[in-house]
């Protein structure tokens, strides 16, 4: 079974949005999106169980190589990094176009995503990519199994669990509750460099200008504002009666 895992290189620290460009400030150190580490782990577990290979796919600046390398050090077999000046500033649609083209060329049985990117928190890309690939998608997967050419995902919802089955090939977005990711071993770290890693441009993927990058992005950020300030806060110091006061406070508002 061939499994592709999409990983995003995200800024490690700030979530600052530059008011001038209305874009996320990506100047600091980057690291693999923590949610995507769960997708890598799940792919590795599937591979260990059933055999096959795991390919890491990422679109990002040259620095995204660090995130790709971490996934390889964890145990992925190969990597495809799409890096191109013309891809900078891509919005959801533009990013989905590129990833879909890359995934098309890899022809995996399963595509795994993290549930959301820790920087922009869209939590949508997997749906858009699945749509372009004409494949079923199961999101918020907290438990995953594969049998008889089908994949079954236990989906975490606000009200309980859905269990959804889909034919393979399929797209899955895993939740961070699905597993506890391994640390890359020193052997994995030392061996990562020698694994097949390709860096491709948009034209090498057969993508024309205009479908991605700023040119392909129809999203216009019109305005940015801080969230409204919270209502009056009541600070309760614990002098032994804090619990009572909290209950009183909630009762007054008919919350308990």
């Amino acid at each position: 079974m061939k499994i592709a895992v999409c990983v995003k290189h995200v800024p490690e620290q700030s979530k600052r949005i530059d008011p001038a460009t209305k874009r996320l400030d990506r100047s600091g150190e980057g690291a693999i999106n923590p949610f995507d580490v769960h997708a890598v782990e799940e792919a590795l577990k599937l591979k260990e169980d059933r055999g096959g290979e795991v390919v890491v796919v990422s679109m990002g600046p040259a620095g995204a190589q660090d995130s790709v390398r971490k996934a390889l050090a964890m145990g992925a077999d190969s990597a495809l990094l799409i890096t191109d000046e013309a891809a900078a500033g891509s919005d959801l649609v533009a990013t989905a176009n590129v990833l879909a083209a890359a995934l098309e060329s890899e022809a995996p049985d399963l595509v795994l995503f993290g549930q959301q990117a820790g920087d922009s928190d869209g939590a949508v890309l997997w749906a858009a990519v699945a749509d372009r690939l004409h494949r079923p998608v199961i999101s918020q997967v907290a438990n995953l199994s594969v049998a008889d050419g089908k994949v079954r995902g236990k989906r975490q919802t606000e009200f309980g669990y859905d269990v959804i089955e889909a034919p393979i090939p399929a797209v899955l977005a895993v939740s961070d509750a699905i597993n506890e990711p391994r640390y890359p071993s020193l052997k994995g770290i030392m061996g990562a460099r020698s694994k097949p890693q390709r860096t491709v441009s948009l034209s090498e993927l057969g993508l024309e200008g205009g479908v991605t990058g700023e040119a392909g992005s129809k999203t216009v950020v019109q305005a940015l504002s801080d969230p409204p300030p919270r209502g009056d806060t009541v600070k309760i110091e614990d002098d032994g009666s804090a619990a009572e006061k909290i209950v009183e406070f909630l009762a007054e508002r008919k919350l308990v």
């Binding site: 890359p184 071993s185 030392m190």
Partner: protein
Amino acid sequence: MNLDLTEEQELLRSTVRDFARERIAPIAEELDREHRFPYDLVRELAELGLMGMTIPEDYGGAGADTVSYALAVEELTRVDSSVAITVAAHHSLGTLPIYYYGTEEQKREWIPQLASGEKLAAFGLTEPDAGSDAGAARTRAELCDGGWVVNGSKMFITNAGTAITACVTITAVTGDGEISNLIIPNGTPGYEIAPPMQKLGWRASDTRELAFRDVRVPEENLLGSRGQGFRQFLEILDGGRISVSAMGVGLAQGAYDLAAKYAQERQQFGKPIAKFQAVQFALADMATEIEAGRNMVIKAAWLKDQGRPFAKEAAMAKLYTGELSHRAANAALQIHGGYGFMDEFAISRLYRDQKILEIGEGTNEVQRMVIAKHLGL
């Protein structure tokens, strides 16, 4: 000239940093309080390949360089010295002598289980009456009927008495003015390991006094040839100083981390104490010295990786980082005020763990003697 770490070194450092923060930090205080050896952590570190870092893959290690090893030890010490010394003593003192001086047969017998971290090894040089003057060792080993018979004792030996310790390599007098190293497997009759010593710091690490009473081991347990023991242990200590100096940097960095965080949270006179210049200067001095110390450690490790002489630089790094960690732990605790004196504040543990860095693997004074010798004085 290139001062960048390699991609592998960077990734290793961030991996060990994550591991230390996520797996070690939450239990460090408890391990210290209970004086409990961290068996589970050792197993996890072994799985990551951190127990036999610089041993080649052929022998079950990870084949990393000394710079990587120093970075890993620094990151571990930043969070917990007991775990760091367990790794460093096992690797630099326990495993490397057998790897460097052992015959192919000895290496095949011992190294795979040690490099994989399945078992631990110790190095017994210090004796009750021979510390800085290690050449004054009195433990004797005599050849009779094709085996060595060992009598004597060793003091303060790290990792000697854990449930997974395989052996200790000891220095012994094997003839007139002749010192040699011998491998003594744990469980050999007559080899007695005293209960764990009670210590100011490194409380979760294993430190023992050892007694040898007519302990018999085969003649092949000699490491290298007879009379080489003195040269061997000097070389081992040269290398060991790199990891202990990495511990000095790690401890200072850990103390800095705690102090910087605390100074931004603690309010006095209506503002965070980090706003007071005296506190800022203390932190600035710490950060500066840490930068200098780290560069010394990396330089010594890099020289070793290049196959060049490194003993002088390693001794300098050990001396400097031992003393800088002392200043850093002291200043960081001072920034914590009275809270820093309380057990529940991690800085108190770092403060206690610091002192041994100026004593173990050669005291500050011994480092100065080694450096002076290298300066031709």
